[in-house]
């Protein structure tokens, strides 16, 4: 044996000598050139990163700038035009345009020459003139060359109204408690407005809780009769008993209803008795109920503190109030809430589902061709366009599943659907389906990265496979699983296309969570920030009016996704810290 080893040693020595001799003939370049050192690739890689960063920073800057400046009060320009017409409005933006030949022909020679010198281009400014009920138009383009004079009178007031958008003009008189005050001061107006708004809120409170409650009870009684009819047959004693009970109860409730309606009418009359007469810049005067004024200020007479006050009050309204004016004004609270609830329900659905599927795939299934095939399918599912999931969600979840639930549990409400139409539950389920591949892939990778030594250590202690998974593998894999969940939530919260078919609406009458039993109403349709952006920006009467709202809503959506992620990342880091001393 030893001889053999010695012999083979000699053979290998011989071979290496030969190799060295032939390698010596290869003439090596002594200096490494640029491509060998990889410099151009480093530049390309750095450049790609810089390009990506620039795009992200630019995008964020755009959203942030437009979002944060949208609510800052603007001055009101009063423009006297060469034609003698006077308009008042907030300047929105100025841009170059090309006046038509006809328009040019009508212009004085001096101005025309100026325009021709600029290659036929002139500037124009977009003014938000408001007063839709006076003019039938909110915005107006004013060519700069038509402006004769521009002033900022201190008495110009901007009023945000419950209806009809902004009012730009002056308040001429205030009628309150049977008295009429001409040219009321801001303090007088504030006091009257507070009173009128208080009355309006009182009326809405009665309508929502009192009248709404009575209506719901009457409807429940009607449904109980219908239920008895379905369960026991038409004309059965049970049904007749239910009908008799419903009739007497309804009679009592009708009395309540009439009383409440009377109250509402009375409050409304008191509220509408407080009115203001306001004139637009041209002098046309109209009368409005003062409760219609949401916010008003003398735009050209604001101190910095007052401007900040208006700014903050607009943000507060935006974040906490319901939308008005076809969503182009007011708040987005229902959309924020809807997005939040939907994302949380989605995460609650997708987490156990995805984690268990991945556990089976990685830990229990026999690794072979079938498992590989399943894995490929799961990965490909992540690439299916989301609208396809939406169609599936509507077809299967809402119509098939929801329809069956309605048949079984809510037959008395048919043909109006309960679960058999788009709603929060189906939207969350659809998104859960959409994001489950992300969770499965992340969980599988995370499980695979748990060191073998950990499993062996546990098994050697006599732990079963399940005990090992429960106590050793899953806790170790949790940070990775959380990463998957974060990705899923970020994707789910920002998804719009499938939601448009499975339950998101332009304006939801009720929040999905409220004080009415059973408190969480998964069947209700809901509002969503992503859809709100689309709706305000592209589906509203006046896309110009929705422009700023698009940016502000986008900002809020980004903030919401960020907040949800921050919570998950915090949880993940907490888990990770447990393995901080880990060296292998």
């Amino acid at each position: 044996m030893v001889d053999m080893a010695r012999m083979s040693d000699e053979v290998s020595n011989e071979m290496s000598r030969n190799a060295a001799a032939s390698l010596a003939k290869v003439n090596r370049r002594k200096a490494s050139d640029l491509t060998a050192r990889g410099e151009p690739m480093v530049w390309a890689m750095g450049g790609s990163l810089a390009f990506g960063l620039m795009m992200i920073v630019g995008f964020l800057a755009l959203i942030f700038w437009n979002g944060f400046t949208a609510f800052w009060p603007k001055p009101i320009d009063v423009v006297t035009m060469t034609s003698g017409r006077v308009i008042a409005g907030e300047p929105m933006r100025t841009e170059s345009y090309k006046p038509t030949a006809e328009a040019l022909a009508k212009l004085p020679t001096g101005i025309r020459a100026g325009i021709e010198e600029r290659g036929g281009f002139a500037d124009r400014t977009l003014y938000r003139i408001g007063n839709y009920d006076f003019y039938g138009n909110d915005f107006e383009w004013v060519p700069v060359f038509e402006v004769k004079s521009l002033t900022h009178p201190k008495n110009m007031m901007l009023v945000e109204r419950q209806e009809w958008g902004a009012l730009i003009g002056n308040v001429r008189s205030l009628a309150i408690d049977g008295k009429t005050i001409a040219n009321p001061g801001m303090k007088t107006l504030d006091a009257a407005n507070a009173k009128a708004r208080g009355l309006r809120e009182k009326r809405i409170g009665i309508e929502k809780s009192g009248v709404g409650e009575v209506n719901r009870e009457i409807n429940d009684l009607r449904l109980s009769v219908r239920r008895a009819e379905i369960d026991y047959g038409t004309g059965s004693p049970e049904m007749l008993a239910a009908a008799a009970h419903a009739a007497t109860e309804t009679k009592k409730l009708t009395v309540d209803f009439d009383r409440l309606s009377g109250e509402v009418r009375a409050v409304r009359a008191r509220d509408e008795a407080i009115t203001v007469k306001a004139a637009e810049i041209g002098g046309e005067v109209r009368e409005f109920p003062l409760s219609n004024f949401v916010r008003y200020y003398l735009a050209n007479d604001l101190s910095l503190a007052q401007k900040t006050g208006v700014y903050l009050s607009r943000w507060w309204e935006f974040l906490t109030a319901e939308p008005r004016e076809a969503n182009t004004e007011g708040g987005v609270w229902p959309a924020i809430f809807g997005t939040f609830v939907m994302t949380v329900v989605m995460a609650l659905l997708v987490a156990p589902f995805g984690i268990m599927a991945a556990l089976y795939l990685r830990e229990y299934a026999r690794q072979g061709r079938i498992v590989s095939l399943i894995r490929i399918c799961v990965n490909n599912l992540a690439g299916v366009p989301s609208i396809v999931y939406g169609v599936f969600g509507l077809g299967f979840f809402a119509y098939v599943l929801g329809g069956s639930i309605d048949q079984m549990f809510y037959p008395e409400r048919l043909p109006s659907p309960t679960f058999g139409t788009g709603g929060l539950l189906w939207a969350s389920l659809t998104l859960a389906l959409l994001t489950v591949p992300v969770v499965i892939v992340a969980t599988e990778e995370s499980l695979a990265s748990v060191p073998r030594s950990m499993r062996e250590g546990s098994l050697a202690c006599g732990a079963s496979k399940w005990q090992t998974i429960k106590w050793i593998v899953l806790p170790r894999a949790m940070p990775g699983i959380m990463t998957g969940l974060i990705l899923a939530m970020a994707r789910g919260a920002g998804e719009v296309a499938p939601l448009m078919i499975v339950g998101v609406v332009k304006l939801a009458p009720e929040l999905p969570v409220d004080a009415v039993f059973p408190f969480v109403h998964l069947e209700r349709s809901f509002m969503h920030l992503g859809f709100h952006i689309y709706d305000v920006g592209f589906q509203s009467r006046n896309s110009e009016a929705g422009r700023s709202m698009v940016f502000v809503t986008a900002l809020v959506l980004l903030a919401l996704v960020l907040a949800l992620n921050a919570v998950s990342i915090n949880v993940r880091n907490r888990l990770k810290r447990r393995f901080a001393g880990d060296k292998f």
Binding site: W471, A580, D582
Partner: protein
């Protein structure tokens, strides 16, 4: 062949059929308390590659048995077969008869979990779980469903004392085990292995990731533990084998070449190949 009657202790056990190799030289020290693990003609295949070619040996109760040999000789494979850790590997096949105190280890009726509870194992790299020190030590009891706090605390203290770690960690039992040094982690793993009150301790190169001082402590510990447990230790370090073991088995290419009293294996090996290995001429 698996049911071959036990040969007399001073004789060679029955060996595999096709034997073009030298038969095993067999002269282990006998334990007064008998045999703990008997291995008869044990063969093992990873897929189509055979890793063990009919190993037969008897591991003596209450003694330290060292498995030595060059890399890839099958000593770790043999050790990991004893508590069936190799079950985790796909396409693994075994043949032969291995018995722990007379009870078979391989076979369809064997409860692997019950088997593993009778043998503690210490791995090459310390592998404490990401839990507190106390939780690590009492993990085998947690597996058994013990929830009595007093019982757990007692077992924790006893095991840590048994692993000579108690004095160093008694004030920080509720801190993460991952904050311990490598040597402490390995002693923690030994404490964990003995907390389940096993009969046998299997050690797979327990000092290869440790510095000399930590190694010395572990060796002292092995010395203390061998009165209570039967210890099987795989090691690359021949001085270590010479220091701690009573019997030494030298393996080469999946075969047991020599199994005998440690002193003799290192000073007067009966096999030529063993001599070459222990004198450092190959391996």
């Amino acid at each position: 062949m698996a049911t071959a009657t036990a040969a007399r202790k001073d004789e060679m056990p029955a060996s595999a059929g096709t034997d073009v190799y030298d038969p095993t030289v067999y002269h282990p020290v006998q334990s007064p308390s008998g045999v703990e693990l008997s291995i008869r003609d044990f063969k093992l295949w990873y897929g189509s590659a055979q890793a063990l070619h009919g190993v037969s040996m008897e591991i003596q109760k209450g003694m330290v048995t060292a498995l030595i040999g060059p890399s890839g000789c099958g000593k770790s494979t043999l050790l990991r077969s004893l508590n069936r850790m190799n079950d985790l590997i796909d396409h693994l096949r075994v043949a032969g008869d291995v018995r722990l105190s007379g009870e078979p280890i391989f076979g369809p009726q064997v409860d692997v979990i019950a088997l593993r509870k009778r043998m503690g194992m210490v791995f090459q790299k310390p592998n404490p779980f990401p839990m507190t020190i106390a939780e690590n030590v009492t993990y085998p009891l947690k597996v058994d469903g013990v929830t009595n706090k007093k019982l757990l605390a007692e077992a924790c203290e006893a095991s840590l004392k048994g692993a000579a770690l108690w004095e160093e960690v008694k004030d920080r039992l509720d801190q993460s085990a991952l904050g311990l040094s490598g040597g402490q982690q390995q002693r923690l793993c030994i404490a964990r292995a003995i907390a389940g009150n096993p009969e046998v301790l299997l050690m797979d190169e327990p000092c290869s990731a440790l510095d000399p001082i930590a190694t010395m402590r572990i060796e002292q510990l092995i010395e203390e533990l061998k009165s209570t447990y039967t210890i099987v230790i795989v090691t690359h370090n021949m001085q270590q084998a010479a220091r701690v073991s009573d019997n030494t088995a030298f393996m080469y290419l999946g075969r047991l070449i020599e199994y005998g009293a440690t002193k003799e294996v290192f000073t007067n090996p009966h096999s030529k190949r063993t001599e070459e290995y222990v004198t450092g001429r190959f391996g």
